[in-house]
């Protein structure tokens, strides 16, 4: 099992959608942390636990770019099977992210 804490490894104040719009964007998170760690989990056939706790809060633009972006690179089933989203600060956040993953994957097909 691999772990990825957004607040500890990326930022406790996640930013906008793309790099051009500002610091700590969803696109940057996808490219530098989420995708490499996801591919490592895929290669090892293990789960990637994404810890969402500790950040001040997540905008839709960030979550859609990061997790929706991952679903546009891989199919939704693979993403949902490999990722385990953990949030004690906001227990319904993982369900929200799953919606972004499914919608991004459906729109991409």
């Amino acid at each position: 099992m691999l772990e990825l804490s957004i607040a500890k490894e990326f930022s406790d104040a996640p930013g906008p959608r793309s790099r051009e719009e500002g610091d700590f964007s969803g696109e940057l998170f996808l490219e530098t942390l989420l995708r490499p760690r996801f591919e490592e989990a895929l290669r090892g056939n293990i789960k990637l636990v994404v810890d969402l706790d500790g950040a001040e809060g997540y905008a839709t633009s960030f979550l859609e770019a990061a997790f929706g972006g991952l679903a546009r690179l891989y199919d939704a089933d693979t993403v949902l099977r490999t990722l385990h989203l953990k949030s004690d600060d906001e227990p319904h956040l993982p369900d929200e992210i799953k919606k972004y993953i499914l919608e991004a994957s459906a729109a991409h097909k």
């Binding site: 104040a13 930013g15 906008p16 959608r17 719009e21 500002g22 001040e56 809060g57 997540y58 905008a59 839709t60 633009s61 859609e64 600060d89 906001e90 227990p91 319904h92 956040l93 929200e96 919606k99």
Partner: protein
């Protein structure tokens, strides 16, 4: 009103007994005591007392639960209005400061958690049949978050018209649930 009716009943009963005792209007008073009738009266009075006590407690418990649920809805509405007011300020200035962005995402997180809390409390209460309403409220809450914090947030505010429509729909669902809770038996 209930006390007035009870007083009238007692006064009328006393007058009828007095009239029967005085043999007025052809009435007579039979002073013989029948044990079975006394027992029947005692049982009837005990049942009436227990029933009244049970119904009073039940009504009082239900009212307390309704007040608690309505309080939870009011907390949720306060988080949403705080978020809406901050976003309106951002729309006027055309930009979003870091402190405003933090306030907006934190208000939305509190609102999401308040929906979860309301759902849990509703499931534990005597109004749990209304928990079917929660799915539409959660969906409306997510639609509001999407309208408020999609692209170009937090660089620039999202269109205010979209936000107004989404929060209007959410507040309507919450007010409808509040009325249903208040009327629930």
């Amino acid at each position: 009103m209930i006390f007035l009716i009870m007083l009238i009943v007692i006064v009328v009963s006393s007058l009828v007994i007095w009239a029967a005792h005085a043999c007025l209007w052809g009435m007579t008073l039979n002073t013989e005591i029948k044990p079975l009738e006394v027992l029947s009266l005692a049982v009837t009075m005990a049942i009436a007392f227990l029933l009244q006590d049970y119904l009073t407690n039940k009504t009082s418990d239900l009212r307390s639960e309704k007040d608690l649920l309505i309080g939870n809805i009011n907390d949720l509405v306060a988080f949403l209005k705080n978020c809406r007011d901050t976003l309106e300020g951002c729309d006027s200035s055309g930009k979003i400061l870091k402190s405003e962005k933090r306030q907006i995402v934190q208000s939305l997180r509190r609102a999401s958690n308040a929906v979860g809390h309301l759902e849990s409390t509703l499931n534990m209460s005597q109004c749990k049949t209304l928990s079917t309403e929660m799915k539409s409220i959660r969906d409306a809450c997510l639609r509001y978050k999407i309208a408020a914090t999609s692209y170009p947030f937090p660089t620039r505010p999202t269109p205010l018209a979209l936000q107004d429509r989404a929060i209007g729909e959410l507040l309507l669902s919450l007010q409808s649930l509040m009325f249903k809770i208040n009327k629930h038996h």
